[in-house]
Amino acid sequence: MSIKETIDFRKQVVEEVLELYPEKAKKNRRQHITIKENNECASCAVKSNSKTVPGLMTARGCAYAGAKGVVWGPVKDCTHISHGPVGCGYYSWANRRNLADGEIGVDNFVPFLFTSDFQESDIIYGGDKKLEKIIEEVVGLFPNTKGVSVLSECPVGLIGDDIESVSRRMSEKIKLPVIPVRCEGFRGISQSLGHHIANDAIRDHLIGKGPGREVGPYDVGIIGDYNIGGDAWASKKILEEIGLNVVNIWTGDSTIEMLQNGHLVKLNLIHCYRSMNYMARHMEETYGTPWLEFNFFGPTKVRESILKIAAMFDDSIMEKAKAVIEKYEAEMQKVIDIYRPRLEGKKVMLYVGGLRPRHVVGAYEDLGMEVIGTGYEFAHGEDYDKSMANLKDGTLIYDDVTAIEIEEFVSKLKPDLVGSGIKEKYVFEKMGLPFRQMHSWDYSGPYHGYQGFPIFARDMDMAVNSPTWKAVKAPWAK
């Protein structure tokens, strides 16, 4: 098919799928789907960051998920209280793969669930007193904790509890930051507001309030790397090899101090723009800390990013940067030599959150694969704008895609690989389609940097070429 035919076909597919909806829903959803054509303005073409249509199966989570699950969860030396009923904390307990160095229970509280386990009486009488007691208890049992975050769940906001004043009081009492995070799940329309709320809490309660530190000439921070499967460490490795000094990571393997000192770097490097751009901007505006977006997925993007980063420093850094690129690109070429022949021309459809729907495109292209559809769970307009340059004409773009849409799109566009989340995974598996979880790397990883690319390549090959897909149809099936 020519590009034109492809575009027409895909447009027709979109129309067919929209036909499944009642009128109002159809109108709404049409605004969220487009086909890339002539590099038009993406944010005009795709509506985003708006309410999900009730009753259509969305992959989106809530503000609590964004605040606790994404931003606060990886702060390892802080105890995070899921304040409210047991469920939210339970479902987000130890199932984001933000690895952390440290002894569990001693100085690493990541794989814990601290909950106030609201009962009916707490709803009736309020939970503030309980929260006070809980903060006391958590500090007593975990005296190494460097702070306490209070992540409120829906009922807290609805019953009018004042966690801010409890936090203020308790912070004075225990002489540690106690950070109220008003991330009730009903706030906003996706986890995105949760990121923002979480960021605001960092801004209001931590940043600039720490012990401070001398800023070395090569000190940098990584912003928006959640260390999924060790991603942040893989990124750090590169930055350190080119002569930079990574002093903070927000938030993967993070400490309270890293949040307090986030601005005390020469440069902040932001990977997941969506979840933390507020903070990069804030640090720039308030403290003059410059920031730069980068992409460490796949050697092509890694090279571009390294050069861009090095250019912010002196020649010695640039020299090392080039040496690092040279050293690793030879290795990466070997990886490509193995896997590209097995993956060349394979088509991919993505549906993920944060940065991935655009950031991983280059890595696929390094393997000769083509992304023919992509979309974000909780993007804002600028995410789509940023995406466009990375996508080919004809790419199907969908925002907050519903389950039925993505199922139909995949059935009709017939990609060789789908990359999305756990809720989507087994739907496509049942269709006999190769799939990788692109939130959790399917429990593999890291995928970032030079360390990650060979693993990424191996995993994509394994997914696409697993002989198990050939087994799906019984030999006697018609």
Binding site: T52, G61, G87, L113, P143
Partner: protein, 472 residues
């Protein structure tokens, strides 16, 4: 906080820490319970053509779906009506009605199972009247079955939500009981059970016993669906036709006591005979189940069942020496704990620590009665309402040989340097376990296999060349 300096794993492992830990009153750390709607969803998945519908925040639905998908490695469908701030102010009716309209249009369910999450409960949404209005407005057909369950997360746990939803689905779908319409079927309610293989095992045994039956609900074909190259939204469940006759059952058999009490009460109120037996884990648990069926059919137990039982007994006698006198810690839901403890006692195993976060008073009594019935139960303590951080303290201060519970137990087991046998939910880090029944006579064999071979693995691993033997 001068204590700072002393924080080490050793301190965490001390009796001093245990006391501090058990002194806490409000903080809950690593509880072994989820919230009501998770159970509501599990139940809803077990009804033919049923679309689960969360009235509340979409984040809740995402969490429930992820949890079950991770555990079962299966697709799990559920919609929500995506309530947000404006619903908090104006109530959730418009989301509810639009949600029903869209969900029905897209997914053409035979029944929609609505259950609530916190938000709707806190603001006091009247879903019954909302539903009336939805039909009034023709958002959905007037004859569409929509079950309504209130499942607030701040009351009970996942098993409570399961119970309420079994009830709501019967309420919604069943025709009234009438003397002349009573059928010949035994309706079997498995309870909150995350083993599709358990449900299949029940069905196999009921069939073998020639009992006309309905398993209600039955998620086995949904959460252990074949891969045939196509995705089916509704791959199985209790047939609607049998749901329609649910109040006309000859009688009911409840296979868990603590996740079916609301339903039992409701059914009894409708004049339906209900018998409740402990979850059929272990030999005598299964014997009870078989006898309950035999009582229902009025026929003798078929020889094939006796032989099957004999094979389980054979495994028990073969393997008793590997379990007898071994010390166990367990955690989980009340019903599964009763079953597992009963099984261990039959094998001469010695439960020591039993942690049940979602304990109830009747359960506590039943467990204590069970423990006191066996010489091997004398060293056991039930810790009602405690959590896995309490359990950790128990394991490191009063060591046992093995922990039995869900995957969350892996941290405590590791700190205590003992193996974890994974039973329950969630199990995110092993595969296929839900494909093996832990109930019935096969369940006896499976539990023995898991427990004994794990002990034998440990022995081999711990042995120097000198003690590394071919026979065990």
């Amino acid at each position: 906080m001068e204590a700072c300096t002393k924080v080490t794993k050793e301190w965490l492992n001390s009796m001093e820490y245990r006391e501090l830990n058990f002194a806490r009153e409000k903080l809950v750390i690593n509880p072994a319970k989820a919230c009501q709607p998770l159970g509501a969803l599990l139940c809803s998945l077990g009804i033919e053509g049923c679309l689960p519908f969360v009235h509340g925040s979409q984040g809740c639905a995402a969490y429930f779906r992820s949890t079950l998908s991770r555990h079962f490695r299966e697709p799990v469908a559920a919609v929500s009506d995506s309530m947000t701030e404006d619903s908090a102010v104006f109530g959730g009716q418009s989301n509810f009605i639009e949600g029903l309209r869209n969900a029905y249009a897209v997914y053409k369910p035979k029944v929609i199972s609505v259950f609530t999450s916190c938000m709707a409960e806190v603001i006091g949404d009247d879903i019954k009247s909302y539903l009336g209005n939805a039909k009034e407005q023709d958002a959905i057909p007037r004859d569409l079955a929509v079950a309504l369950a209130n499942t607030p997360s701040f009351k009970g746990s996942h098993i409570t939500g399961y119970d309420s939803t079994v009830k709501s689905l019967i309420e919604c779908l069943a025709k009234p009981r009438q003397e002349d319409t009573i059928n010949d079927r035994l309706y079997v309610v498995p309870g909150f059970d995350t083993y599709p293989a358990n449900l299949r095992e029940y069905k196999r045994l009921l069939k073998e016993m020639n009992a006309p039956f309905t398993l209600l609900p039955d998620h086995s074909d949904v959460l252990d669906a074949p891969n045939l190259g196509t995705y089916e939204l509704y791959p199985g469940g209790t047939p609607i036709s049998e749901m329609n006759e649910a109040l006309n059952a000859k009688s009911y058999l409840m296979l868990q006591a603590y996740s079916t009490s609301t339903t039992s009460k409701y059914l009894k109120g409708k004049g339906v005979p209900v018998e409740t037996i402990p979850m059929p884990i272990g030999l005598s648990g299964t014997d009870n189940f078989i006898q309950a069926i035999a009582k229902f059919t009025g026929k003798e137990v078929p020889e094939e069942i006796t032989i099957e039982r004999g094979r389980a007994v054979d495994a028990m006698t073969d393997c008793h020496q590997y379990i007898h006198g071994k010390k166990f810690a367990l955690f989980g839901d009340p019903d599964i704990l009763i079953g597992l403890v009963s099984f261990l006692l039959e094998m001469g195993g010695e439960p020591v620590h039993i942690v049940c976060t979602n304990s109830t008073v009747p359960f506590k009594k039943a467990m204590e009665k069970l423990l006191s019935s066996s010489p091997y139960g004398q060293g056991a303590t039930l810790y009602p309402g405690k959590d896995l951080w309490h359990l950790r303290s128990l394991l490191v201060t009063e060591p046992v040989d093995m922990l039995i519970g869900d995957g969350h137990g892996k941290y405590a087991a590791r700190d205590a340097n003992i193996p974890l046998i994974r039973v329950g939910i969630p199990i995110y880090d092993r595969v296929n376990l839900h494909r093996y029944p832990i109930v019935g006579y096969s369940g006896v064999i499976n539990l023995i296999t898991m427990i004994v071979n794990t002990f034998l693995d440990e022995i081999d691993r711990a042995s120097t060349d000198t003690y590394f033997e071919l026979m065990r």
